[in-house]
Symmetry: C2
Subunit: 385 residues, 2 copies
């Protein structure tokens, strides 16, 4: 029985993680759950999974939950410190880090510092603080297991290979809802259209990131740090069926790939069971039923943020922090109707235009750089309106 | 530097193996070459690769080669005993077993008995004597490394996995030249049409086997013995592009696949370098240029021999021996115009109709069963004419 602490339990990854736990009864116990604003779902999760500790965004929500529970109650924390305390909670064998965006960084760091297994779904923390998190993991003995389907695919293909066998690592991308939209129509695409992802059911932030392919850019940077890969070895390939998640090219020209149904419960389950595997909870992949797997080289005119991410990938720490911060602000502004779809990329590009990338050695420096770029980006968007 | 003994040096696998050796100068030395009837090519190979020992079919060809060589001459053997002696030659670190058909069995067994690494391209020997070869390998410490692209793919996907993680193993098949031929036209297909394989440039026997898909049936049986897999876990999937060579399904629903360009020098090189890898001699695989990878469930009305092979796969030893013998005779008869294309399957099915499969414990029993079925099949084909 593995004890799981789940940060971000009410999000898409969180709910899928709990479904994996539910369907593997006896294998895992959810000892800690952290949510932010979805109080009612958190309450339902507490009733079903009976964790020892939970955390929620506001103190009043914590009080509300406490009131509504009967019988044995978990310890109920609140605020950002609550999530951090939960991440460091000693009862957990494995921490699933599934808070979306930069907000996931501090809890992830707290989990890493206590030397746990960190099942990482929060790519933004690796993007903003990859070097720092790696250093802390080496110090504490923490191990990262990827949760993202693409990184789980890479992880599984790399298993047992030596670094000098690897020529390149390719993450696939569905291409999102606008893969075949005429370029001149991209500017008119609405949040509702961008949120209609053809393959994956995910949260809003990552769905918009998928439409711009910034998601894949963030994943490239995440892969760099997760697997200690040289930036030049990382590739992206569009694969609309989202069945092949990753490809690892070996030096002799042989390529290993990982495939599965387009369902995040498969990589989530592997992240929880690794290094073991348990029987799948889904029907087997039937390639004859899928028919054809297509592969398309990404077009950087359609997805200019891929080029931006490739730049950040090769630059010093602050480039990725700034790119991520500008992206979070721009995506929010797009969802709120303050930016056109094509404005997301333009906003990020101008946020980065004057940047001189530099090393950021501490979490304080990272948080400060993130804050600075967010403010600047917000004020730029405000002015434009 | 690895010393390579190459059995079947003038065939397609043999010539590709020598090309791999040529392009990896300094890594391998061809210390022994065995050919059968292609005397002139063998002579050219001796001049280029300067082996210590060679073997050829007839004594007069041995004499002819000896006469035409100037300077340092290799030891020149002849006959089936020559190939066997070469297989057991102590100078070799690795024996590439690439003689086509049942004739490859005795030399393969000789190599296995001396405890070498056997790079196996001769699938018929595993089909006819899989259990025996496995027993002998355990006794001598010999190790098998697959040369076939499909088995090399399986081998690479299985590396580092435990047996209890494997749910199924799928070999892909191009489907051959008649994948889309109307069923009613199959009977009229000529040897020239059957020999025009759409993807792989191979010898005549294996190309016809590919058109009937008996090749894949033989490979299923080979995979059973090479990887010690239960027959029920083995699958076939048609994949016309021949880029994905094998798929290994794990118990959690994740699937690992091995891909490469359709060029047998890739698996041959890996068989020679394993457990290491060396840089490839071909351009990298460009999936965006390939575009789409298709997968089709095989139709047993079109490929009835797949069903026959699946039967043999689950039966006692003599079933596979008989099927292989009947197939070799039928393929020869088809090439010589004595059988229609659809007559190959019908001939094999009637050869197996009365068979009561039994265990065959010795090479003598296997050779005797093979001889018996060949004679019977020949006489049946003779009568039909």
């Amino acid at each position: 029985m593995k004890n799981v602490v789940l940060l971000g339990s009410t999000g898409t990854i969180g709910r899928n993680t709990l479904d994996v736990i539910r369907r593997n009864s006896g294998a895992f116990r959810a000892v800690g759950l952290a949510a932010w604003s979805n109080r009612d779902l958190l309450l339902a999760q507490i009733r079903e999974f009976r964790p020892d500790v939970v955390s929620v965004g506001k103190a009043e929500d914590a009080a509300n939950i406490r009131r509504r529970l009967v019988g044995r109650k978990p310890e109920i924390l609140s605020g950002p410190e609550g999530a951090e305390a939960l991440a460091a909670e000693t009862k957990g064998d494995i921490v699933v880090s599934a808070i979306t965006g930069f907000n996931g960084l501090r809890p992830t760091l707290a989990a890493v510092k206590t030397g746990k297994i960190v099942a990482l779904a929060n790519k933004e923390s690796m993007v903003a603080a990859g070097a720092l998190l790696r250093r802390e993991a080496i110090r504490s003995g923490a191990a990262f297991v990827p949760v993202d389907s693409e990184h789980s695919g890479v992880f599984q293909c790399l298993a047992g290979r030596r670094a000098d066998e690897i020529r390149s690592v390719t993450l696939t991308a569905s291409g999102g809802p606008f893969l075949r939209t005429p370029l001149r129509d991209m500017g008119r695409k609405t949040p509702a259209e961008a949120l209609a992802h053809p393959r994956w059911k995910m949260g809003r932030k990552v769905t918009i990131d998928s439409a711009t392919m910034m998601n894949k850019g963030l994943e490239l940077i995440e892969a760099r740090w997760l697997f200690d890969l040289e930036p030049g070895r990382l590739r992206v390939l569009i694969h609309p069926q989202s069945i092949v998640h990753a490809l690892v090219e070996l030096r002799d020209g042989s390529v290993l790939a990982q495939l599965s149904l387009t369902d995040m419960r498969i990589p989530i389950q592997y992240a929880l069971t690794h290094p073991e595997r348990r029987d799948g909870i889904l029907p087997p992949l039937d390639l004859a039923a899928v028919g054809a797997l297509e592969f398309i080289a990404p077009d950087e005119r359609r997805f200019p943020l891929l080029r931006t991410a490739r730049w950040a990938l090769g630059e010093k720490d602050s480039a990725a922090v700034a790119m991520n911060a500008a992206n979070e602000v721009a995506v929010e502004a797009f969802i709120e109707g303050k930016l056109k779809f094509t404005g997301i990329a333009r906003t990020i590009e101008s946020a980065l235009a004057g940047l001189r990338p530099r090393r950021l050695d501490s979490i304080g420096d990272i948080v400060e750089e993130d804050r600075r770029v967010r403010e600047q980006t917000r004020s730029r968007i405000g002015k434009r309106k």
